[in-house]
């Protein structure tokens, strides 16, 4: 079970809701993924297009925990403003702190992320900061009392998978709160690896939404995350340089 603040989830997949080909496919993909936490962004409404469908209206939102992000924020203050707006919907008290510090790489601004996390914790939010894979930053966020740490595997939407598994492992080893690998996951193998390294969950969006068949990929990610977690719990064998036979050495006279 994944425990984030006061909430418990049996799914370890957190799914983003952007970039799907259409709402019907998105709905099917969300169901296939088994995700219980869905991320959203906060944006201006087109008040002259009130008939435009919104994904939130198409699903039973009581079945999911909403995790709004603060995407678009470049400072802690902007992130706090977005988080407050999201919370005022009355639909959520969790927030993914996302303060981008570089337009080309979309990597998070560590200083503003730390500041925003502190401010939002003070206001009583359940705070899940999206961070780079920096061990010390993860520690600092933890010390503030955040409810999970979400280091990126590689740049958002890049599909490069985990570019620095060593850092991710360091973060996981020292973590006192759940570690959710967020951003950069490309395929099921990446998600499985994240879980095998000991992550508590995976947050992904583009890998499913932009796959040729998002529904199939959603299911693949669900299974990969379950497999990776099982593998982690089972305890993999250490890597050895040379072979060790799987068949017994006794009774070899039959061939010698």
């Amino acid at each position: 079970m994944l425990q984030i603040g006061p909430y418990t989830f049996h799914s370890r997949l957190l799914l983003g809701t952007g970039k799907y080909p259409n709402i019907d496919i998105q709905k099917e993909a969300v169901e296939a993924s088994g995700a219980q936490i869905l991320t959203f962004a906060v944006r201006r409404m087109n008040i002259f297009a009130s008939d435009q469908p919104n994904f939130l209206e198409k699903i039973d939102i009581t079945k999911y925990k909403l995790l709004p992000n603060t995407a678009g924020a470049k400072t802690a203050e902007e992130a706090v403003r977005i988080a407050r707006l999201a919370k005022a919907s009355g639909l959520c008290d969790m927030v993914k702190v996302e303060v981008i510090g570089c337009d080309q790489t979309l990597l998070p601004d560590p200083v503003e992320t730390l500041k925003a996390t502190e401010m939002l914790l003070e206001e009583g939010f359940i705070v899940l900061p999206y961070t780079s894979d920096d061990v010390v930053l993860a520690k600092r966020l933890q010390q503030l009392g955040c409810h999970a740490i979400m280091p990126g595997a590689s740049p958002i939407g890049s599909g490069q998978g985990i570019v620095n598994p060593l850092n991710i492992q360091f973060i996981i080893e020292q973590a006192t709160v759940p570690v959710i690998i967020d951003a950069g996951i490309g395929g099921p193998a990446d998600a499985a690896l994240a879980m095998e390294l000991g992550a508590d969950g995976v947050l992904l969006n583009t890998a499913v939404a932009c796959a040729k068949d998002p529904v199939k990929m959603a299911k693949a990610m669900k299974l990969a995350i379950e497999a990776g977690r099982l593998g982690y719990e089972a305890g993999r064998i250490p890597k050895k340089r040379y072979a060790t036979a799987s068949s017994p050495m006794e009774g070899m006279s039959v061939v010698s």
Binding site: A41, F48, N54, L66, S89, I156, A183
Partner: protein, 67 residues
């Protein structure tokens, strides 16, 4: 009355004087929306009696797909 809604200057008819009326006017009263006036969030329970005034900067936001 003229307000700046989501960055655009918009003329509102005289019968629109509260947040609740504003949302009705744009047919978005049943939508999941959050309203901010001059950087202050308006709680849902205050929509009926929160007045809007000429020159107000109003933001009407909602949840959209995102990761």
């Amino acid at each position: 009355m003229r307000c700046i809604i989501n960055g655009e200057t918009i003329h509102l008819p005289s019968h629109v004087s509260t947040v609740a009326q504003l949302l009705h006017h744009f047919h978005i009263h049943k939508k999941i929306a959050i309203v901010e006036i001059n950087m202050h969030i308006v709680p849902k329970e205050d929509y009926e009696h929160t007045a809007i005034a000429d020159g107000d900067r109003i933001e009407i936001v909602h949840f959209v797909g995102g990761g």
